[in-house]
C-alpha cells in the first residue's frame, strides 16, 4: 500500500503535464504547428504512461485499493479547506482510458486539422482539455472535481466554437456551455449541501472522515421528504444530466458537432460527456444510501428513468438524421442513457464498463466519420456520400467494427457491456429494460442505415458539383496518421468486451447470480439482428441513387419522420418557452431599470424641480420682492448707520478697541 500512496501522491502529475504543455502552447506563435502538436502528444504520452503505471499498480489486489493524498488549499474561519487526489480502480481505469484514447485522437487530429490556420491554438485547447479531464478523474474532492468539470466545459466551449466564424458554431458553443451550466447549478447546490452536512468535500481520507465514508450520517430528513443523501444525489445528478446530455438537458450535444471531429470524438463521445456518468459512479455511495434493490431511493429511480428515457428518446431521433456526425451524436446521447440507466439500476460496474467500451468504439466511430469527412472534402450529409467502401477501405473496415460494436453484435465490446447493462436493468425495472431493449434495436437500425448510406451504393457527391467547391472531386483514403488511430481503437472495440468480468472484480463488485440472464441476452441479440436486418431491408437492398432522393423511412413514417428529424421539436419548444422567457425577463428588467427605477428617480427630480419652482414663485417673488425688500430697506438703513463705523480710518477702529478695553475693565471692576 505504501507504493500506492506514493503513486497517489503523484497523481497530480497526470493532469499537470498536459497543463504545463497547454501553458507553453498558449504562448507559441501560429506558425509553430509541429512544435505545438509534438508538445501535446508528448505530454499526453507521458501522462498516459503515468496513468498506466497507476492502473497497473491497482491491478491484482485482492480487494479494492484506495489511496488518497489531501492537502490544504486555503483556510477560512478555523477550518482548513482541503483538496485531494485519489488513486482507486475507478480513477485508474478511467485515467488510463482517457489518456490512451486521447492520445490516439490527438494523433488523428494532427491529420484532421492539418490545414487549419489555428492549428497551434487547437492543440493548446486539446492539452488544456486533457489536463482538466484528467484532473476531474483523479480528484478526491467533489469541489476539485467540479472545478475540472467546469474547465472541461470551458474547453468544450472553446473547441466547439473553434470555427468561431461560423455563426452556428458560435451559437452552439454558447448553447453547450449554458445548458451544462444549468445542470451545474444543481451540481453546485449539491456540493454546497454536501459541504454543509458533512463539513468536508474530500471524498475519502485515510482516517475515514471523507464525505463518502460518512454517508451513513446523511440519512436524516432533507428536502421534499427525501433523505439528505438522496437530496444531494438528486442535485448532483442534475449536474450529471447537463454534462452527460440526459433529457431534458441533452440539446447541446448534437449542436456540439459544429466542432472539429476529433473534438467530437474526444470530448463529446469518449471523455467529457462520460464525466457525468463517472461522477455518478464516483458519488455512488450517496445515490444508494438508505435504499435497497426493493426500495430504491428516489435518486436511483430518477437516474434510472432519466437514463432509460434518454436512451430511447435519442435513439429515435438518431434514426432520422442525415448528418453523419449528428447520428453519432444522438447515438452518444442514447448510449449515455444506457450507462446512466445502469447506474440507476444499481449497476455501478456495468455502467462504468459500458462507459469504457463505449469510449473506445464511439471514439472510433467519430474518428472514422472524421476520416470520411476529410476523405469527402468536408462533406457531412450522408445523402451526398455513398460507395465509400471502394475509396476508403481501411476506414470502412474500422468503421464497420465500430458499428458492430455499437449495435451490440457479439463478440464485439459493445455487446458485452450493453448486455450487462440490460441485465442489471432487468433486475430492477422491466419498464426501463423494455425501453432500453427497444433503444438497442433502434441503435442497430440507425447504425446500419448509416453504414449503408455512407459506404454502400455509389458516390453521390458529384450530384451538384458546381455548387460545391470540392464536390466534384473523388473521395480518397486518409493519410496514415488518421487511419492508424482508428485501427488501434478498433482492436479495442473488438477485444475489450472480454474483460468485463475482470473489470467487475477489479471494481470490487461481488459475484451474484442474476435472474433472466438468458432471456435478456437472447432478446438483445435478437433485437440487434432485427435492427440490422431492418436497416438492410430499407437501405441496403436498394441504396439511394441520388442525394435528392427521399429517405425510404420518410415515406413509411411520414410526419413522424419529420418530427424525429426535427428532434421532437425540443429545441423549438425551448426556444418558445425558456429562452423566450429569459429574453423577456431581460427586456423586462431593462425596462424596469429604464422606466420604473429611473422613472421614479426622474419624477423625484421633477418634484424637486417643481418644488423649487413653487419656491421661486411663492417664496422668492412674494416674500423677497414683497416683504424682504422692505426688510432690506430697514436693514439697509441700519447698515448705513453701522457703515459709519466702518469708515476705513484705522484710528477709529483703534479708538473703538481702546474704548472696548476700557468698558471691559470697567465691567471687571463693577462686577
Amino acid at each position: 500500500m505504501d507504493h500506492l500512496h506514493k503513486l497517489a501522491r503523484q497523481q497530480w502529475l497526470i493532469p499537470a503535464i498536459p497543463l504545463a504543455a497547454a501553458a507553453i502552447q498558449s504562448l507559441l506563435p501560429r506558425s509553430a504547428k509541429k512544435l505545438s502538436a509534438g508538445l501535446c502528444l508528448m505530454a499526453m504520452g507521458i501522462s498516459c504512461l503515468f496513468a498506466l503505471r497507476a492502473f497497473f499498480a491497482t491491478l491484482g489486489h485482492a480487494e479494492v485499493v484506495r489511496a488518497v493524498w489531501n492537502f490544504t488549499w486555503f483556510d477560512y474561519g478555523t477550518v482548513s479547506f482541503k483538496l485531494g487526489f485519489i488513486l482507486d480502480p475507478l480513477t485508474a481505469a478511467m485515467a488510463a482510458m482517457v489518456t490512451f484514447v486521447g492520445f490516439w485522437i490527438f494523433v488523428n487530429a494532427t491529420g484532421y486539422m492539418h490545414d487549419d490556420e489555428n492549428f497551434t491554438r487547437f492543440f493548446c485547447f486539446l492539452s488544456l482539455f486533457a489536463a482538466a479531464m484528467l484532473g476531474l478523474v483523479v480528484s478526491n474532492n467533489i469541489l476539485l472535481l467540479f472545478m475540472c468539470w467546469e474547465l472541461v466545459g470551458l474547453c468544450s466551449y472553446l473547441l466547439i466554437g473553434f470555427w468561431f466564424h461560423k455563426p452556428s458554431a458560435a451559437a452552439a458553443c454558447k448553447k453547450a456551455f449554458i445548458t451544462t451550466r444549468i445542470g451545474d447549478v444543481g451540481f453546485f447546490l449539491g456540493i454546497l449541501m454536501l459541504f454543509w452536512k458533512t463539513g468536508t468535500l474530500n471524498l475519502y481520507t485515510a482516517e475515514g472522515t471523507g464525505a463518502l465514508q460518512r454517508v451513513g450520517e446523511l440519512l436524516g430528513p432533507g428536502w421534499f421528504g427525501w433523505s439528505v443523501a438522496t437530496t444531494i444525489a438528486v442535485l448532483l445528478f442534475i449536474g450529471a444530466m447537463g454534462k452527460s446530455a440526459q433529457f431534458p438537458l441533452h440539446v447541446w450535444l448534437p449542436d456540439a458537432m459544429e466542432g472539429p471531429t476529433p473534438v467530437s470524438a474526444l470530448i463529446h463521445a469518449a471523455t467529457m460527456v462520460a464525466a457525468g456518468v463517472f461522477m455518478v459512479g464516483r458519488m455512488f455511495p450517496l445515490f444508494i444510501a438508505g435504499g435497497s434493490l426493493e426500495h430504491p431511493t428516489f435518486a436511483m429511480d430518477m437516474v434510472l428513468y432519466v437514463g432509460a428515457f434518454t436512451a430511447l428518446f435519442s435513439a429515435t431521433i438518431a434514426v432520422a438524421q442525415f448528418d453523419i456526425k449528428r447520428v453519432l451524436a444522438y447515438s452518444t446521447c442514447s448510449q449515455l442513457g444506457f450507462m446512466v440507466m445502469a447506474l440507476g439500476a444499481g449497476g455501478l460496474v456495468p455502467g462504468q464498463f459500458h462507459l469504457l467500451t463505449h469510449a473506445f468504439f464511439k471514439a472510433l466511430l467519430f474518428l472514422g466519420s472524421g476520416c470520411v469527412i476529410i476523405g469527402t472534402h468536408h462533406e457531412q450529409d450522408m445523402r451526398k456520400m455513398g460507395g465509400l467502401r471502394k475509396y476508403m477501405p481501411i476506414t470502412f473496415v474500422c468503421y464497420l467494427i465500430g458499428m458492430l460494436a455499437l449495435a451490440g453484435v457479439p463478440p464485439f465490446a459493445g455487446f458485452f457491456s450493453k448486455d450487462e447493462v440490460l441485465l442489471v436493468t432487468f433486475q430492477r425495472s422491466k419498464l426501463a429494460w423494455g425501453m432500453a431493449t427497444f433503444a438497442a434495436f433502434l441503435t442497430a437500425f440507425y447504425m446500419t442505415r448509416q453504414m449503408f448510406m455512407v459506404f454502400a451504393g455509389k458516390w453521390r457527391g458529384g450530384d451538384h458539383g458546381a455548387a460545391h467547391g470540392h464536390g466534384g472531386h473523388e473521395p480518397h483514403e486518409v493519410p496514415w496518421n488518421m487511419w492508424l488511430p482508428i485501427a488501434v481503437l478498433s482492436l479495442f472495440a473488438i477485444g475489450l468486451g472480454f474483460f468485463g468480468g475482470k473489470y467487475a472484480h477489479y471494481l470490487g463488485a461481488e459475484e451474484e447470480e442474476l435472474s433472466g440472464k438468458a432471456l435478456v441476452m437472447g432478446l438483445s441479440v435478437t433485437v440487434g439482428t432485427l435492427g440490422i436486418l431492418l436497416g438492410w431491408f430499407l437501405y441496403g437492398r436498394k441504396p439511394l441513387a441520388h442525394a435528392s432522393d427521399p429517405d425510404p423511412l420518410e415515406s413509411k413514417l411520414g410526419g413522424l419522420f419529420t418530427c424525429l428529424n426535427r428532434k421532437w421539436y425540443v429545441d423549438e419548444f425551448y426556444e418558445a418557452t425558456i429562452i423566450r422567457a429569459t429574453m423577456v425577463g431581460g427586456t423586462l428588467f431593462r425596462v424596469i431599470d429604464k422606466r420604473l427605477v429611473d422613472g421614479i428617480l426622474h419624477s423625484i427630480v421633477w418634484i424637486v424641480r417643481g418644488i423649487s419652482q413653487v419656491c421661486r414663485w411663492v417664496g422668492d417673488e412674494f416674500f423677497i420682492n414683497g416683504g424682504f425688500d422692505a426688510g432690506c430697506q430697514t436693514v439697509r438703513g441700519s447698515g448705513w448707520l453701522m457703515s459709519k463705523l466702518q469708515s476705513g480710518r484705522v484710528q477709529n477702529y483703534f479708538r473703538i478697541l481702546g474704548l472696548g478695553t476700557i468698558i471691559l475693565l470697567v465691567v471687571y471692576f463693577l462686577k
Partner: protein, 168 residues
C-alpha cells in the same frame, strides 16, 4: 539700585512721550530710540542681558533705521516740522481714552496681590546657553516658524515696496 529703576523709567517715559508728541518726525524717531534704549536698560536691570542686547540690536539697529528710511522715502525730510496736530477733537478723544485706560490699568494692577511681589533675592545673570538650548530643543518649531515668518516678511516688504517701481 532703586534709583536706577526710577532714572531709567523716567528716560523711557520721556522717550515715549516725546516720540508721540514731537512735531518733527525725525525727532520723534530719535525720541523713540531713547525709549528703546530705556527699555533695553530695563532688561539689563532685570538681568535679561541677552534680551537687552537683542533689544538694542533689533530695535535701535534695525527698526529705528527702518523707520528713518521710511520717513526719508515719504517726506521732504529737509523741510521743517509737520503741521500742528495738538488740541483738536481727535487729540482730546485719543488722549482721554489713553489716560482712562492707564488709570484703569493702574487700578487693576494695584488691586492684584502680585503687584507687591518682590524679587526673591539677588540672582545671577540668566544663562544664554539655556536660552539657546531651549530654542533648538523644545521650541525649535517655533523658531523655524519665526524664521519663515521673517523671510516672508522680508520678501513681502520688498515686493510691496518694489511694486510701483516695477510698473514704471
Amino acid at each position: 539700585m532703586n534709583i536706577a529703576f526710577w532714572i531709567i523709567s523716567a528716560v523711557a517715559v520721556l522717550g515715549a512721550v516725546l516720540a508721540v508728541t514731537l512735531r518733527n518726525l525725525v525727532h520723534c524717531v530719535l525720541a523713540l530710540i531713547l525709549f528703546f534704549i530705556g527699555i533695553a536698560a530695563h532688561y539689563f536691570l532685570l538681568r535679561a542681558d541677552f534680551l537687552g542686547t537683542v533689544q538694542i540690536l533689533i530695535y535701535v539697529g534695525a527698526v529705528a533705521v527702518l523707520i528713518l528710511f521710511a520717513i526719508m522715502l515719504t517726506h521732504n525730510v529737509t523741510g521743517v516740522d509737520g503741521p500742528k496736530e495738538l488740541l483738536g477733537v481727535k487729540w482730546w478723544s485719543g488722549a482721554a481714552i489713553a489716560a482712562t485706560l492707564a488709570i484703569l490699568l493702574k487700578k487693576a494692577i494695584l488691586s492684584d496681590p502680585l503687584a507687591t511681589l518682590l524679587p526673591a533675592g539677588d540672582k545671577a545673570q540668566s544663562s544664554v546657553a539655556e536660552i539657546g538650548k531651549a530654542l533648538v530643543a523644545g521650541w525649535v518649531v517655533s523658531l523655524e516658524a519665526i524664521a519663515i515668518l521673517l523671510t516672508a516678511a522680508l520678501i513681502g516688504a520688498v515686493v510691496i515696496a518694489l511694486e510701483e517701481i516695477q510698473k514704471s
